[in-house]
């Protein structure tokens, strides 16, 4: 019960493209602009891909909605990218969500695994220390089954 690593991922996807190209699609302004907000080519105002660096995106046709912002946590070129994003849809003060993307080269293809992570180590000062950095969503499937 303590280790849900097998099911704490959100999405895996295999692309018919070399790892370098997939990595570039996440880390190059001209490329990430084309896919991060499906249907829109985003205005990438900042994309500082290094730990602690920020990204800021905006919809050029929607000046009312403000920016979509986040901060990079881990940057291991061609291997791992993790970042937190701020979501203002539920709570005006913003809720941080964290994501980790792992890149794997499979011959001419590239597999990415997207995992939801806890963006800040707020639990480090908690009385419990049993894996504060664990992803949180491992229990959804089982919870979903039992609460219905």
């Amino acid at each position: 019960m303590q280790n849900n690593k097998h099911d704490d991922f959100l999405v895996t996807r295999v692309f018919d493209a070399p790892c370098e190209l997939v990595w570039n699609a996440w880390t190059t302004p001209e490329l990430i602009a084309k896919w991060f907000a499906p249907g829109i080519v985003m205005d990438v105002r900042e994309l500082d891909v290094r730990p602690g660096g920020h990204f800021r995106f905006a919809d050029p046709n929607d000046t009312a909605s403000g920016e979509y912002t986040g901060e990079y946590i881990t940057v291991n070129p061609l291997q791992e990218l993790s970042f937190s994003v701020m979501d203002y849809s539920e709570d005006p003060s913003g809720v941080a969500a964290g994501f980790k993307v792992v890149f794997e080269e499979l011959g001419k293809q590239t597999k990415i695994t997207l995992t939801s992570i806890t963006p800040e180590s707020e639990d480090s000062h908690d009385a419990s220390s049993d894996g504060a950095q664990e992803a949180w969503n491992g229990c959804f499937d089982r919870l979903a089954k039992v609460i219905q």
Binding site: Q2, L10, R13, A37, P38
Partner: protein, 106 residues
């Protein structure tokens, strides 16, 4: 307390799963499933309560805990929506990669 922080610790997720399976339990009954101290369990219950994932009612001298299905459903919806958004993004990324590969071959 942020819901996702509350859910970030395996013991707390296990407590939620137990309550979802068994219905309502006292702190003592919950504690019997773990090899950690009663104060540690109580601390976990406090965090879960503050994040609104649990309900508590007093019966005689005991506090009986249960899950708050409304909040758990909200969390699930968040996960479902997030998943849908990422699926859509990655579909678009797939096309961008295809275009980039084609451009290189030309």
């Amino acid at each position: 307390m942020d819901t996702f922080t509350a859910l970030s610790v395996p013991t707390r997720r296990t407590i939620l799963e137990m309550l979802a399976t068994s219905g309502k339990l006292s702190a003592t009954q919950i504690g019997q499933h773990f090899s950690i101290s009663a104060p540690a369990i109580s601390q976990h219950l406090k965090v879960l309560l503050e994040s609104d994932l649990l309900t508590v009612e007093k019966r005689a001298q005991r506090r009986i805990y249960g899950i708050n299905p409304k909040k758990v459903t909200e969390v699930q919806e968040w996960a479902t929506n997030t998943l849908a958004l990422w699926e859509c993004r990655l579909d678009t990324l797939d096309k961008v990669l295809e275009d980039s590969s084609n451009n290189k071959q030309e």
